[in-house]
């Protein structure tokens, strides 16, 4: 062999289909995921949907609270789960705001949660003002009680006496600055948990379990939870410990659809879009800004789940072909 001759390289055997299918590089998988989850955000698609019974129950419960009543909202989410929780919070608050229901916000889940909730209300207020609707005012329509560092103890205290548990908590009263929350008109005469018509927990953590353990049977409880928490929350719903819940993006999309179409309400073509044998007619809010995060992200969920299923199928087909080849 001459000195300058190229060194012969071993010939690489070409990869079989099975090998190719079982060894897709991570990089390409991630690129496909990014594409699949981003592309639907730029396309306006209305996905057909049939709301779950739990979502209809949640909507019916929210719509049954009388205007002027005060409900408790445990806002136990931060932006780590905002893909689901933010939209759920907005939908629940939109319904309560439109119906003139007052809200007492508190949190046992995360120290950041009260601030996140207040910022979200500020954004909803901006939307309301832009539409010429009245502002949902702090103190007169809602108060923020703040964060309780020990969720177990605070929820336990609420079971005994809400006023004593909220004692010393202050919020901003117009013209007075920080004032004891119990001086707000919306908390007048509501000392016990039984005095509230509803407790809604918007959570991405285990605070839902604590709430059921401590407050079930004392006040009607409704949840909006992340998709991961859906199955365990289903337990409480089936046992009747909670009156309704929306789980994950599907639950949020259900809620937005219910807000647009109502229940057993005939549409423009005379057809009822969302039917339920359990309830009589429950009005929606047609034409108002109901579509939010759920409508925006639901197609993305479709593509992401489809990709997940495809990935499982490809991996398994590759494995079967490899086994067959080995035999």
């Amino acid at each position: 062999m001459a000195k300058n001759d190229p060194i012969p390289q071993p010939i690489k055997p070409s990869m079989s289909l099975a090998e190719k299918l079982t060894s897709l590089p991570k990089f390409y998988l991630y690129i496909i995921l990014i594409f699949f989850s981003s592309a639907p955000l730029f396309i306006n698609v209305t996905v057909p949907n049939k709301p779950l019974e739990s979502s209809i129950d949640l909507y019916a419960t929210l719509m049954s609270v009388k205007p002027g009543e005060t409900v408790l909202v445990a806002s136990d989410w931060t932006n780590s789960t905002r893909g689901e929780s933010w939209g759920q919070f907005n939908s629940v608050m939109r319904i309560l705001m439109r119906r003139g229901v007052n809200v007492v916000l508190y949190s046992t889940g995360d120290a950041q949660a009260p601030r996140v909730a207040q910022d979200s209300i500020a954004k909803l207020n901006k939307e309301r003002l832009a539409k010429g609707e009245p502002e949902y005012k702090r103190w007169e329509n809602f108060v923020s009680v703040g964060f309780f560092s020990s969720g177990e103890a605070a929820t336990n205290g609420m079971a005994t006496n809400v006023k004593a548990t909220f004692a010393g908590r202050k919020d901003f009263a117009p013209g007075r600055g920080l004032t004891d929350v119990y001086e707000s008109p919306i908390l007048k005469g509501r000392e016990k948990i039984e005095n509230f018509p509803l407790l809604i927990v918007i959570t991405g953590s285990k605070t839902s379990n604590i709430t059921v353990e401590r407050l079930s049977g004392k006040v009607p409880i409704a949840f909006t939870v992340t998709g991961v928490m859906g199955p365990e929350t289903g337990n409480f719903y089936q046992s009747g410990q909670i009156v309704g819940f929306a789980s994950g993006l599907k639950g949020l999309y259900d809620l937005e659809g219910l807000m647009e179409n109502g229940v057993n309400v005939p549409g423009k073509d005379g057809q009822i879009v969302i039917k339920s044998e359990k309830y009589p007619k429950i009005d929606g809010f047609p034409g108002q800004p109901n579509a939010g995060q759920g409508s925006r992200y639901y197609p993305t969920l479709h593509f992401a789940v489809a990709l997940l299923i495809l990935a499982v199928i490809i991996g398994n087909v590759g494995m079967f072909l490899a086994r067959k080849g080995a035999k």
């Binding site: 560092s149 004692a167 600055g177 289903g234 969920l301 398994n316």
Partner: protein, 304 residues
């Protein structure tokens, strides 16, 4: 203390504002607290364990008694309890807000402990210029900036016009600074960290979710069924197909086989019962662990 001062109901735990009994309680609690603190500081290490065990038992005993002791039924605030059983029940119930407040305060102390620990570790790292010390600088600067703007925003809202700052049009530098750091940076990074999970799930689904046994096949089929039921478009197509089948055969029985119905059946029967079983198991485990901690039988937490 705020709890005691603000309570309108007079009982053992809430004496009238400015009364001599309240001052006596406060003074007594202060002296007791100082004595305990000093005592613990000078106590030999081997005697600390019984003290910690005693305090743990008393703290746990309150919650146990609150549940186990018969609670007074419909006892009004101006009514005296009848007999010792109702008396103890009322006493325990009255103590609840105070104990809740104390628990909250003790839990909040962990924040102070966390800040102290963070400062001592990272300041030492910076002082000695250990590996990656610039990251420690970034961490401390971020913490100081967040706390400073957070408090500046909080104080700007203290006045009578504080509620006006709920609208962005009325914001000042402190409010914009807080919004940029909290909403613009921290919260976005928080969401970004969480979204990374999607990549792990996809990678795991591709590499690990393999049909190697009958059990794995059942698991995979069920998972696919439930996942498909979450896709409204797929569920809709399935329903339309079944409806077509029903109208062509005239047999309503097929309606039980829409994707939503089958997935709902899986959820209602298998999923919830399994999860309930797991929850019971976890509950029994937590009860056993709770008993061990309450009675100070658990030694794995280190020496007091």
């Amino acid at each position: 203390m705020n709890l005691i001062l603000q309570s309108k109901t007079v009982n053992f735990w809430a004496q009238p504002y400015g009364s001599s009994t309240l001052w006596a309680y406060l003074f007594g609690a202060l002296i007791f607290g100082i004595l305990v603190f000093v005592g613990l500081m000078f106590m030999p290490a081997q005697f600390r364990r019984p003290v910690v065990a005693f305090c743990t038992f008393i703290a746990g005993a309150y919650w146990v008694l609150l549940y186990a002791w018969p609670a007074p039924i419909d006892l009004q605030p101006n009514e005296l309890p009848q007999g010792p059983v109702e008396g103890v029940g009322a006493w325990l119930k009255d103590a609840n807000p105070v104990v809740v407040g104390m628990t909250g305060i003790i839990t909040a102390f962990m924040l102070g402990l966390g800040i102290f620990s963070l400062l001592s570790i990272h300041l030492r790292k910076i002082r000695r210029q250990q590996r990656d010390w610039p990251f420690s600088v970034v961490l401390l600067v971020s913490m100081v900036a967040m706390v400073s703007f957070g408090y500046a925003d909080y104080f700007s809202r203290q006045g009578p016009d504080g509620t006006k700052l709920d609208l962005q049009a009325n914001w000042g530098l402190a409010n914009y600074g807080r919004d940029l750091l909290f909403d613009g940076l921290l919260q976005q990074m928080d969401a970004a960290m969480f979204s990374v999970i999607a990549f792990y799930i996809l990678s795991a689904a591709y590499r690990a979710f393999r049909i190697r046994s009958v059990e794995a096949t059942i698991l995979l089929s069920t998972a696919l069924l439930v996942m498909l039921s979450l896709m409204g478009a797929v569920a809709y197509i399935s329903e339309q197909t079944i409806n077509g089948l029903v109208s062509s055969t005239g047999n309503d029985f097929f309606l039980n086989f829409t994707l939503t119905e089958v997935a709902g059946w899986v959820r209602r029967t298998f999923e919830t019962s399994s999860l309930r079983g797991i929850a019971f198991g976890v509950g029994i485990g937590a009860l056993a662990m709770g008993l061990r901690i309450w009675l100070s039988l658990e030694k794995s937490g280190g020496n007091a």
